[in-house]
Every structure is written in structure tokens, then in C-alpha cells.
């Protein structure tokens, strides 16, 4: 029985890397007592796979992992048992049974949506109007966005344009009366053409003449991961059904 689990990651948990999150869930599932399936052999491991690793420092409300169960447990009950095994900052939000022929999360993910904001707003003295005008030139009106992408093997040319499915900039006011700029991005994700949102913003700000961006200039939140093709993406969390 294949199951897709959706979870969120926030607070201090953003500093826990992907490999440690995998170990964390292996132990959490053992604590929950859910009847997960194990591989054969002298060192059996849980049948578990994650949609896409989340970088250290990023928060998320849309992470997914697929597991296999030996026997049925109602979705609500399983969700509660798993949630009881969580630490602060980790929340399990959905537990859905997948059709037997469903592709796993890792191979089906094709896009991810992100929200980014400045860590140090004083470094970005731009008005919302300036930003939106620059975005129109950089993205909306551009036929291509050629970039050089550094990979493990060297550098390669890449056109960002078809890999960015949506890009909006808005201004929000928080409860303190401060205003903040929010960047929303929907970008290609997966084993081929995996686009990091900060890469897009780096090139965007370069187009504005700002070239001194550091590696960690934005708070980045992954909202969700999606499958399918533009413009008909479906959330990974929409696949399958709660079963009681």
C-alpha cells in the first residue's frame, strides 16, 4: 500500500539538512508504530522516498514523502500518530493512499512554488514600482533569459525563461505596519532542470544592475510541489485519497 505524506518544516528545523530529515522520519515512523514496509537483507531499511530535497535554511509548507505500508491504517489515525511523534517545527499535514500505479513523488515532481523575502531590506532600496517594471523587462517581455549555469561538470548555457512558469512581485503589510516585498515564483523542479528560486532572483537583480547578492540574501519558503505540465500543474498533495 503506497502512501503519500505531506509535511511542513519551519522554525529552527530549517537548519536541519535533507539527510538528517530522512533519518528523523525513519525514527519518527518507528515511534508512531505505523506498519511500514522494510527492504529485505541484513540491513533492512524502510521503503521511503522524498519528492525533492529542501536546502538548509529554507522553510516549507509543501514537502512530500512516499512510503509503503504492510497493512492499512485509516488516514486520520495515521496522521495523528505521526503528528504525535513530531518535534516543534515539523508538522504532518496529509496522509493519502495512492493508486497502485501512481508514480512516486520523486519522479513525478515537475514544479515548485516559492515565496521569497529580503533578509536585510536595507540592502534593497527599490520601490515596488521599480521592481515590477524591471520584472516586466526581465521576465514578462523577454523571449529568452539566457544564463550560464554552474554545474558539477563545469558551466552550461541555459534559457531560464521556459523554466519559470510564474513570477510575481507584491508588497505586503504585516501587523507591525512595516511593509515588505514578496517574490512569488513557480519554477521547474525535478531531476532535470531543477531551478533554485534564488538563482532566478540573482539574475533578476543583475538585470537591475545589482550584482552584490550573497548566497543567503533571502528568506525562502517552499509553498508546494507540483506534478504535470504547465499550465495544468497539480499539487503532489492532490494525488490519491484519504481512506478511513
Amino acid at each position: 500500500m503506497k502512501v503519500r505524506i505531506k509535511f511542513s518544516k519551519s522554525g529552527s528545523m530549517v537548519y536541519i539538512g535533507h539527510l538528517d530529515i530522512m533519518r528523523y522520519f525513519q525514527k519518527a515512523i518507528r515511534r508512531s508504530g505505523l506498519p511500514i514496509k522494510y527492504s529485505e537483507g541484513f540491513n533492512p531499511h524502510q521503503i521511503m522516498s522524498f519528492a525533492a530535497p529542501l536546502g538548509v535554511g529554507l522553510s516549507s509548507s509543501g514537502e512530500y514523502m512516499d512510503i509503503e505500508l504492510k497493512e492499512f491504517v485509516p488516514s486520520q489515525e495515521a496522521l495523528q500518530r505521526l503528528q504525535a511523534a513530531m518535534v516543534d517545527g515539523m508538522e504532518v499535514t496529509s496522509f493519502r493512499y495512492l493508486p497502485d500505479n501512481a508514480q512516486n513523488a520523486m519522479s513525478s515532481v515537475s514544479a515548485a512554488s516559492y515565496i521569497l523575502s529580503y533578509k536585510h531590506p536595507e540592502k534593497f532600496p527599490y520601490t515596488i514600482t521599480e521592481l515590477q517594471a524591471a520584472k516586466k523587462a526581465f521576465f514578462d517581455d523577454a523571449g529568452t533569459i539566457p544564463i550560464i549555469k554552474k554545474t558539477k561538470k563545469g558551466e552550461r548555457e541555459l534559457d531560464l525563461k521556459p523554466l519559470i512558469y510564474d513570477f510575481t512581485i507584491s508588497e505586503v503589510c504585516n501587523s507591525c505596519g512595516d511593509s515588505g516585498i514578496i517574490f512569488s515564483l513557480l519554477v521547474s523542479t525535478g531531476s532535470t532542470d531543477n531551478i533554485k528560486p534564488e538563482l532566478v532572483l540573482d539574475h533578476f537583480f543583475r538585470s537591475m544592475g545589482k550584482t552584490d547578492l550573497g548566497r543567503y540574501d533571502f528568506f525562502i519558503h517552499r509553498e508546494d510541489m507540483l506534478t504535470g505540465q504547465a499550465p495544468d500543474f497539480v499539487s503532489l498533495g492532490e494525488i490519491g485519497h484519504d481512506k478511513e
Binding site: 528545523m13 536541519i16 538528517d20 525513519q26 518507528r30 540491513n43 517545527g89 543567503y216
Partner: protein
């Protein structure tokens, strides 16, 4: 978002920021404003090492059972964070509340090995607490040390307010209550508290003792400064092991710790009495936990952590009376889906081989023996009961059961060691390999692999070898070379491997192990000049250390290379560990003159003195 002491900008620069954020599973959460005592429990090494230590988890559990105490943890910031904290003036914080530990009531530091001494100073320095105890005010926390190195705390005595000698289960309640009462009444001063604390059994307050020296540099006397300060500090012992607190909900770190498993302490102390082994002496008498309790703990801990592995902790697991029952229980009742058992320190015999073949992949795993010395003569000197027949028979059985890899552990530089003893190490390994090749070719699986490792012997306080000399680095390496050269002469040399320990750090370890208060200044200067993480070979700077020792007039000839006379006053003589000095003298003579073994505690009582604690093996079967 929960509060963090370090900003996002800093955390993102660090290697493994998870070391500094707390929030681990089973972390204790309390409202600090609702407790009387805030206690920072520190392991002065990196997080992954410190989190693997069972002792801290026991004390964490024990302290936090008290409603009036909040015990939190702190570990050594890695050099990347160290630099940032110094530059940005960030005070060292505890993981739970992320509050600066300088505002705590106590900072308890466990001393597990001598090479962490500069890390103690790093902790105090980053915490912004005065390094020297004499410079601390009533507002500073009480700095308290415990753990095995406190069996000679003298090299770091001037940095501690007090040392706890023995097992934490006994006297902490009295110490904490004394502190709390003085604070409530309003008559707390550091000096007055320390004076009263010195009267609690097991509590040593270094500043209340004066040490005088003879002209030749040896100690003349160590005298209490006041009449109400005891001359001897008695080691504290938990007589009934079932009565102690145990962490049935241990912390589970996010980053992989060295010990990433449930650890079940099955007993304390050891019946064997190996003459080089400090743990075998200072944890006497041997005391077992009851089987039923261990069964309960095992289940609870696997459930509460979700760990995939459980391991037994003790000095010699094979000596646990009900080991077969315990292991069979673990295999049958605990180890369903995906739980492994790891079995350390098992004597190789039919039982252990049978068990091991059930829980591990025979072809991949290796068999471990610790003969410690190559020849029977030297094994008698060190009182290691293991004989060549034991080893060859054990290895033979294992080879027939499918094992191919054997690891052998030895020490070089033991008292009375001759070239013959050194050569006996590869000769023994060769015989083990030969035993493997006795198996018909069609029934064995290629070559065997026998790995010998040697460390250099370091004499430790409260052992029969506490008077023994050490050797200079060159001599250690000469001995390792003899082993290596002899190995190459062996018939089966292609199946043998040899690796040896660093000699530089061994000499320093020997210095701190048997040093006195006069070393403190050198440790201080070493830290000021950048030494820390000395236990890590990447960071250990031997040249700097030797320069500092020389500058401070600290002679390795005096502290390390000298055979000490049996009647010399030793820096640790003020501690009463229960095992009497006369026993150590007797054992030293049996080792070096008679060269005979002493029966273990189950065979015959040797009258070491540990019976004075009133429990354990000393009284079993004697009612």
C-alpha cells in the same frame, strides 16, 4: 519561531548549524522563571561526541526530575563558530533556552579524557566567565567538574570551584539543596557555599586545600585550609544499580551522533582487574542491573526514540550474569522490524559467536580481541586473563562459522615490556592467520584479514601501574617499528595489517593524567595561544605545547618519564576511591616482581577495599 541565540546569518555560515539549535526529540522544556536552579551541563567537545555520552543523559534525566532545577546542555562550539562568537562578542548559550550560561547557577563540565582540558577554558571563555576560580564573583556560576578525569583533577583544579568525585546519583541532591537554601535565606556567598559544600560526601573544593612541595619537586603535603574541610574525599557509589535514574526517553539528535542508538547500561564496574585499567579500578565494585529492569528499559527506549539499534554498555558485557537471557530477549522481543543489536566487548566463545551470527552479517563483520599484550608473560603482568588458547580457539570457531576478519588490540610500552613481547604481537597474529588456513580451501572464502592496532600505554591514577614510567616519542615509534618489521617476517604477512597510534598526543595525555596543580598555568597559556580541540589531530599542535611546557618549566622527565617511588605523595592521594593504596602496591609487586595474575572478583576476593561500599559483587553469594 522559537528563540535562537545565533542569527540566521551566522547559522547559515556554519558547518552543521543543527549543533546549536536544540529542539531535539525528548528535549526537556521548562519555564526557567519557575525553577530555583539553572544548571548547564557541558561536555567539552563537539556536539556529536557530547550527545553520544550516556553519563550526561543520566544526569540530565536525574536533574530534570527535580521541579526546582532546569538542566540544559552545552557543547564546545566548533572553531568556525568560536571565531564568530569571539568577533561578535556572543556569549555561549545553552541549547534548550538558548540563554547565556553565564547567568546560570551551575555549569557542570564532564571530563572524559585529558585532552579536553583546553576545551574547558574555551567553554568558560566563550561563556564570558572568568577562567581562574579565584577571579570569580558571587554573580558567576559555580563551575563544577565530574567524570573519570576527576580521579586526578589537580591539573585543572584552579579552574574549578568544585569537583564531584564518584557517581552522580548520590550527592547532587544535597549539593543543589544547599545552594537553593542559601539563596532563599539570602546568605549565599560563593566562599560560604563552597565551604559548606566541601562537607558533602564526594565534593572536593580545590581552593580549600593547600599543596606544598619538596625541594625535588614532589608533593610534601596536601592540607585542608580549615578544620571542617575533610582530609580525604570519598568517592560516591550507587550501591543498588536498580535505584538510579535512567533516561528512558533519551534525547535524539538530528545530526548523526557517534552513538546513534539506544544505549542500555547493564552494569558498572568490572570484575577483571586489568592492572593498566583505571575504569576497572575506580568503578569497583561490580554491580549489575536486574534483568527485568533492563528488559523494561530496552522496550521503553526503543519506543521513545525510534532508534534502529540497541547497544549494551558496560566494561565487560560477557561478565553480566544473565547475558544469554538478556540477549535472547532482545533478539526475540525487541528486534522485530529493522532493529539491530550491537554487541561490544563480548568475549569470543561459542555463545557469543552464535549470537553474533544471528545479528550481523558474518562475512562483513569482524571479530575483536583485546589481548593488550602479545606474550603470555606480559599478559600475566597486566593481569589480562586471556590466553593464547582462548584466542586461537575463539578465532578458530569463528573462522569455521564464516568470519574472515579479526581485529586485535594491543598496548606498547607496558611495564617490563621487552623486545620479545613486542615481537610476540605479530607472531600471535600470524598464528591466528595460520589457524584460518587450516580450513580446507573449498570451505573457506579467500584470504583472512588480521588487523593489529597498538596504542601506547599511559599510566593512570588509581591503578597498580600508577607509578610506572612512560617513554619518549622516539622510543614508542621504535617499538612500533619492531612490531611492523616482525610482521613482515611472518609466513602469513600478506594477511596481516598493522596500525599504530600517534605518540605525540600520548605523552601529553600522560602528563595531564598524573600532573599536579603546577600544570594549570601551561594549560591556560596554551588556550590563550590558540590550543583547543587537542583530542582532534587536525587541531593538536604538539610544537606549541612543548614550547609552552618548556617556558613554564614543566619537565616531562619529572611528570612522565620517571619511575615514581611507591612512597611518593601522589597528587591524587587525597581521594579515597574505596580501593586501597596497599592493594595497588600489592598488585604492582605481583605484576613486576612475581609476574602472576590475580583472580577476578568472581573467583576470589582480593581484598582491594571496595567491599567498604557495602554492595555489589563483594557480597554476592556470601549471605
Amino acid at each position: 519561531m522559537n528563540k535562537l541565540a545565533l542569527s540566521d546569518d551566522i547559522l547559515m555560515q556554519l558547518d552543521k548549524p543543527a549543533r546549536y539549535i536544540g529542539n531535539e526529540l525528548n528535549m526537556v522544556k521548562k519555564d526557567p522563571s519557575k525553577v530555583d536552579i539553572r544548571f548547564a551541563m557541558c561536555f567539552p567537545d563537539v556536539y556529536e561526541i557530547g550527545m553520544s555520552h550516556l553519563g550526561i543523559q543520566i544526569l540530565y534525566e536525574m536533574f530534570n526530575r527535580r521541579d526546582d532545577v532546569y538542566c540544559e546542555r552545552v557543547y564546545s562550539p566548533w572553531p568556525d563558530l568560536h571565531k564568530i562568537m569571539k568577533e561578535e562578542d556572543i556569549p555561549l548559550f545553552a541549547l534548550e533556552t538558548q540563554d547565556p550560561i553565564k547567568d546560570f547557577d551551575f555549569v557542570g563540565i564532564t571530563l572524559q579524557y585529558e585532552m579536553c582540558y583546553t576545551n574547558i577554558l574555551q567553554i568558560l571563555d566563550l561563556a564570558q566567565i572568568p577562567l581562574w576560580q579565584k577571579d570569580r564573583s558571587d554573580q558567576d556560576p559555580i563551575i563544577l567538574c565530574g567524570g573519570p578525569c576527576t580521579y586526578n583533577p589537580e591539573p585543572i583544579a584552579d579552574f574549578c570551584d568544585l569537583c564531584y568525585i564518584g557517581e552522580g546519583e548520590i550527592s547532587y541532591d544535597a549539593l543543589l539543596s544547599l545552594y537553593k537554601d542559601m539563596k532563599h535565606v539570602g546568605n549565599y556567598t560563593r566562599a560560604e557555599f563552597l565551604r559548606k559544600a566541601a562537607q558533602i560526601p564526594g565534593i572536593y573544593v580545590p581552593s580549600l586545600y593547600e599543596v606544598t612541595y619538596q625541594e625535588d619537586g614532589t608533593i610534601a603535603a596536601m592540607t585542608p585550609r580549615f578544620a571542617d574541610v575533610p582530609e580525604k574525599v570519598k568517592r560516591q557509589v550507587l550501591v543498588n544499580m536498580d535505584e538510579g535514574a535512567y533516561p528512558t526517553k533519551p534525547l535524539v539528535p538530528f545530526v548523526r551522533a557517534t552513538q546513534d542508538r539506544v544505549v542500555l547500561e547493564i552494569q558498572r564496574g568490572c570484575i577483571r582487574g586489568c592492572r593498566f585499567c583505571q575504569a576497572g579500578m575506580v568503578y569497583r565494585p561490580n554491580r549489575e542491573k536486574s534483568l527485568d529492569l533492563l528488559k523494561t528499559y530496552a522496550k521503553e527506549m526503543l519506543d521513545s526514540t525510534g532508534h534502529e539499534e540497541i547497544s549494551l554498555s558496560s566494561l565487560s558485557s560477557s561478565d553480566y550474569t544473565q547475558l544469554p537471557e538478556l540477549i535472547n530477549f532482545l533478539i526475540d522481543d525487541c528486534c522485530g522490524d529493522g532493529v539491530n543489536i550491537s554487541l561490544p566487548s563480548l568475549r569470543i566463545d561459542a555463545f557469543s559467536l552464535d549470537v553474533m551470527s544471528k545479528v550481523q552479517d558474518v562475512r562483513k563483520s569482524s571479530l575483536t580481541f583485546a589481548p593488550e599484550a602479545g606474550s603470555q608473560r606480559l599478559r600475566n603482568v597486566i593481569n589480562k586473563g586471556l590466553t593464547k588458547d582462548d584466542i586461537l580457539n575463539g578465532a578458530g570457531m569463528a573462522f569455521e562459522g564464516g568470519w574472515q576478519k579479526v581485529k586485535l588490540y594491543f598496548m606498547l610500552g607496558l611495564p617490563t615490556e621487552t623486545e620479545e613481547d613486542m615481537r610476540a604481537i605479530p607472531e600471535l597474529a600470524n598464528e591466528i592467520a595460520a589457524r584460518y588456513y587450516e580450513i580446507p580451501k573449498d570451505k573457506r572464502n579467500g584470504k583472512c584479514q588480521i588487523t593489529m592496532s597498538t596504542s601506547f600505554f599511559v599510566p593512570k591514577p588509581f591503578t597498580p601501574f600508577q607509578w610506572a614510567p612512560m617513554y619518549e616519542k622516539g622510543e614508542y615509534l621504535r617499538r612500533a617499528k619492531i612490531v611492523n618489521d616482525t610482521m613482515k617476517e611472518q609466513l602469513n604477512h600478506k594477511s596481516l595489517r598493522y596500525n599504530w597510534h600517534e605518540a605525540d598526543v600520548t605523552v601529553l595525555e600522560g602528563l595531564f593524567a598524573r600532573g599536579d596543580r603546577r600544570l594549570a598555568k601551561a594549560i591556560y597559556e596554551a588556550y590563550e595561544e590558540g590550543c583547543m580541540f587537542d583530542a582532534w589531530s587536525d587541531y593538536f599542535d604538539v610544537d606549541k605545547w612543548h614550547e609552552i611546557l618548556e617556558r613554564n618549566g614543566i619537565s616531562l622527565d619529572f611528570y612522565v618519564y620517571r619511575q615514581r617511588p611507591l612512597d611518593e605523595v601522589l597528587p591524587w592521594d587525597f581521594i579515597d576511591v574505596g580501593v586501597r593504596k596497599e592493594f595497588f602496591v600489592r598488585e604492582w609487586k605481583r605484576a613486576t616482581i612475581d609476574q602472576v595474575v590475580t583472580p577476578n572478583c568472581k573467583m576470589q576476593c582480593s581484598g582491594c577495599g571496595a567491599a567498604s561500599f557495602g554492595g555489589g559483587i563483594c557480597f554476592e553469594g556470601k549471605n
